[in-house]
Amino acid sequence: MKGDEKKLPPPSDIPHPHFGVLYTRNNVLTDEFLFNSINREGKSMGQNRRKHFFINKPLQIRFMLAVIIPLFLINLVALAGLYFGIWSKILETFSNEQTLNDLVTASRMVEYEQARHPDANQDFSSLSFFKQTEKLSLRQREVFKGILDETNRSLFWKFSLLLFFLAWGTIFISHKIAGPLFRFSKAFNEVEKGDYRSRVTLRKLDEGHPVAQEFNEAMEKTDRLLSNLKALTQEKDAPQAVAKIKEKLSTVQTSANV
């Protein structure tokens, strides 16, 4: 076994930070460990391809809906805005009644000009019809511009409102993930400091309840094991205590199985 032992490379050469603690304590590394370690690295770099779209189907569907529904609403508002803002007004503008009103008004506008500029009447009278047509065309351009401007303004406010809701919704949804991640992170920190009483408690609508439950069960088991080991260290009969400790640890798998 001694011949299989190898000197550790300098800490900077160690690719996996999780095992750094073991190296510094034991300063030895088995071939099996190295093999497993390299094997894991190879998998994570080369073969880490997802074979299934749905890893957590309910979660992914919820997220899909969370994105699709607001986008659908935005499109709906945009289409409705375009339809009611542009097409309905264009249809209204070119209704028989409105067209007739515009024709009369165009004619009236030319007549007003003729009345106000009598000196120019001679030129105007023969070109009256063309002047009226020009006025009507001018009016139509004004109407179109007005419709487009108004629609743009209207859509701008509607989109702004929807984007606000979308941003609010995104924060709300991401909060359901960020919250659990924060609690997990806090729990891991406590474990790192040696507090195995730490548990993760999530809110009702948070994501990750199954993971939290599994984590808590694992922590409870570890906590119980360590509590038992701690209790055994207090026993007066040392050989019996060591035997019991060995028995307790016999089922525990670690990176450095000795």
Partner: protein
Amino acid sequence: MFKRLTCFFLVFFLLFSLPCATLLAFEPSPEDRALLNKIEKDTLQYFTRFSDKMTGLTKDSSRAGSPSSVAATGFALAAYAIGGSRGWIAQDYAYARILTTLQTLRHKAAHEKGIFYHFLDTKTGNRVWGSEASSIDTAFAVAGALLAARYYPGTEIEKLAREIYERADWKWMMNNSDFICMGWTPESKFLPYYWDSYNELMLLVALAIGSPTFPVPPNAWERWLRPEGDYNNHKIIYASTGSLFTYQFSHAYIDFRKLDDRGINFFENSREASLANREYSMSFSGQYKGYSESSWGLSASVGPGGYRAYGGKPGGGFQDGTIAPYATLSSIVFTPEFSTKAARFFYDSYQKELYGNFGFKDAFNLDKQWWASEYLGIDQGITLLMLENYLNDELVWKKFMELPAIKKWIELTGLRTRSASIAKN
């Protein structure tokens, strides 16, 4: 010496007393006065009905699809103030409507250097129909605002009216010429037409000279042409169209009775023009059924063939049997008896066809059996203001003549004042 004295007194008598002496005093009967009051009150309803509730902008015409007119909006401001003071509409309501309208004119209505566009979108105040930034229409809007301010001194109304007036750059509208330009468009800039000859221009020039911010030179008053003409021994400084409204619009606000413009009294000029207009139409009474002693009034109005600048002589004298009752009524300060008789005649004879919820409709033509179905904002406005001057102690004149701008105009132009009272024919 005696001859000289006789001549002097004769000339004095002719110059200052003749117009009044030749007129008979006229006091309408209680029934006629009641009718005139009813017409004024009903005419006010045009402005409450055809002004937008949100912007206050008043439609040019009661016809469907009509845009709002800034001149009609000015008349609306005056109409609300009058209606409020007469108790025909609640004071709170009148105040609110005037305030809304002034806020729109101050902050929303399209303008160029304070000169409003002639036609505006009623809902938005945007320029429509490619209309021009119009000096005369702005003058009527400003006049209405300033008059309303006189009815509500020390209020937000007065502040807004002053701001609107002070913003108007009349000097710019002169386009470095001797006269005020009629209009300006973004597309073709200044129009090739100027207010260079007598017509409704006097109010515009008065306000432009009296402006506290962008005054035009005082000699702009002297420069415009005063063409002299004659019809049936009525010597008149006349407008090219001969339309009656040209002799009335400035007089709605300005009391010209006491003003002497180098020998011309424009009040008397309008009286002569009204009489000439009446006599001109009567001269065609054998040709057109509509014309008679009590049925007259040739002025720009809608007619069977569209809007036309009908008028008398001197001037264009274009007529086709169409009579505009608004013009007849708006001469009431000049020809009270004839105008009252005509109003009674129109009302009693043609009430069904010609009179509606908002007073008299714009015009009619008996020969073609044609009756206007619409009211025009500015024609309703001039009717209301002239009736108010006649029926209610010349209140509009009294209030308007107290404006510093008008006093400044009188002072700078050297218009001499003389004592006078309203003509009684």
